[in-house]
Symmetry: C2
């Protein structure tokens, strides 16, 4: 006998798998082909983009658009732009000068395979083409004002007061002996949370959402962003490398500010549940009870990798 929670979770898993296929196919279409000049760079880009990500950010964008009445496939290209930007941030984070990670999503990182110079340029290119995707799609001048808004939203989310700022704070925190809870939240809200929030917000803008709806989507986004990061830190403590696709317990060993390090495992689990519950509540206030969004929030809190 399956419980309702199990069935819902299987439903989300199916939804994620189907959307992931849509996103992967579109990414393959949007990214420059490997045999085109400059070939090595295009190979490095594709190596990292197709290294097995969950495509969570583009799927959040598609889901938000869908819930608000736009056909998900109308926002498929901008959704892919979000994954390009996410992959750029991973490639640069993994560099020897930053986190110095050799393994990501279970495969060797970009600089390990292609060298540092190419990895730096591959990250630059994914950031460039990712932002370019928001300018190019959806096609047509009638979407111009919405596209500009999406661009401003994403740039704000990934700039020095967003994702890049979070990364910088993360580096600085490694030099502290005891990172505070406030610093930890600031790092993760910016490093992980902002791009997830922006992904949902972008989908909502492209679906023509009004101000009140955008505010609800943004509340949902901020809660699942934090939930995602707390779960990530918990998985790092709880999992082994085979399940996680990267070295486990590495964050704590590196003196990283993580939720379990600062709050302990039990308090981190409670915080996770709190954020998931708030996300679910925000989503349920949306049209149609938020469609797939409440189940997505629960899935993010319960995922195994």
């Amino acid at each position: 006998m399956t419980t309702g929670a199990e069935a819902a979770s299987r439903g989300v898993a199916d939804y994620l798998a189907a959307r992931r296929q849509d996103v992967d196919r579109a990414l393959d279409r949007l990214l420059p082909p490997e045999d085109a000049w400059p070939s090595i760079l295009h190979r490095a880009i594709r190596h990292s983009v197709f290294a097995g990500g969950k495509r969570l950010r583009p799927i959040l964008c598609l889901a938000a658009a869908e819930v608000l009445g736009a056909p998900a496939l109308d926002v498929l290209e901008p959704a892919c732009g979000l994954e390009m930007i996410h992959t750029y941030s991973l490639i640069h984070d993994d560099l020897p000068a930053l986190d110095n990670d050799d393994l990501r999503r279970g495969v060797p990182t970009c600089h390990v395979v292609f060298g540092e110079a190419t990895a730096i340029l591959a990250g630059d290119a994914l950031l460039t083409h990712g932002l370019g995707t928001f300018a190019a799609y959806p096609k047509g001048d009638r979407h111009a004002a919405a596209k500009v808004r999406v661009l401003e939203t994403v740039v704000d989310a990934i700039g020095t007061r967003g994702m890049i700022g979070g990364q910088m704070a993360d580096i600085e925190a490694e030099q502290e002996t005891a990172p505070t809870a406030a610093l930890l939240t600031r790092i993760h809200e910016n490093k992980t949370g902002r791009l997830m929030r922006a992904s949902l917000y972008a989908g909502a803008i492209l679906a023509g959402a009004d101000g009140a709806t955008l505010a609800r989507i943004d509340l949902y986004g901020s809660r699942i962003g934090l939930a995602f990061q707390i779960k990530d830190d918990l998985l790092d403590v709880e999992s082994d490398a085979a399940t996680l696709g990267k070295a486990s317990n590495k964050d704590a060993a590196a003196g990283k500010a993580t939720f379990p390090v600062v709050w302990g495992v039990e308090r981190s689990r409670a915080l996770l549940a709190e954020n998931v519950a708030e996300a679910v509540a925000a989503a349920e206030a949306l049209p149609g009870g938020g469609g797939v969004l409440p189940a997505l929030a629960r899935f993010i809190g319960a995922r195994k990798s």
Copy 2:
């Protein structure tokens, strides 16, 4: 007695100095302040942006807009976005994994002062905020379609088939024993030329230029882009480090594909003169004889640093 050429050259120098002040003031206004979080990153960004550049790309954008009837100051912010992007490319090019340059524009490079991690993030941030500037300015939905066009133009110019591709080819060429003339042209058209061309094109788009005018601006841009690079290579051979603000003859020593290495100094000088003449002719076909543009082309060919 001053010759006409000397007077014209002094006129351009005055024009450049005045515009450079406009650009510097606007950059100071647009870039996040040093005392705002994340402070180290903002200091690194400002260190590189205010290290004494010529502001050639923003000035080309302003000049194109002006010649085509738009008040130059209406496009001041997007012009600054071009300088942010140019500075990002310099910071990343200078990294140890790429050109490994300690000195740029006469001052220590970003990674020398702030470390590699911060320099990588500072470059990322300048690319992000640079592209964001095209979305944010000029303000107002009535400019949305033009802003999207500017974004597409710049992204195309700096992506893997543009500036980043040129940088990648440059790295690959260092491993060749004898770089060919075709490879050399491809590297520099992309690495230097494309962003200059896009700067002029962006100014023209924002001034509402028609297709025929855009084509003329683009021809002008492609010729001064190449002229600029040939002159840069010649200066590297001819100048000493004090005048140039960076190590001289370094390109040849590093086995870089330069015009003097491939064509010899005399043929490079002839190519430079040819490109300047073609740029002047293209500019003179524009309204009002191209305003300051013909003199700017001559200045680029005759500059001392």
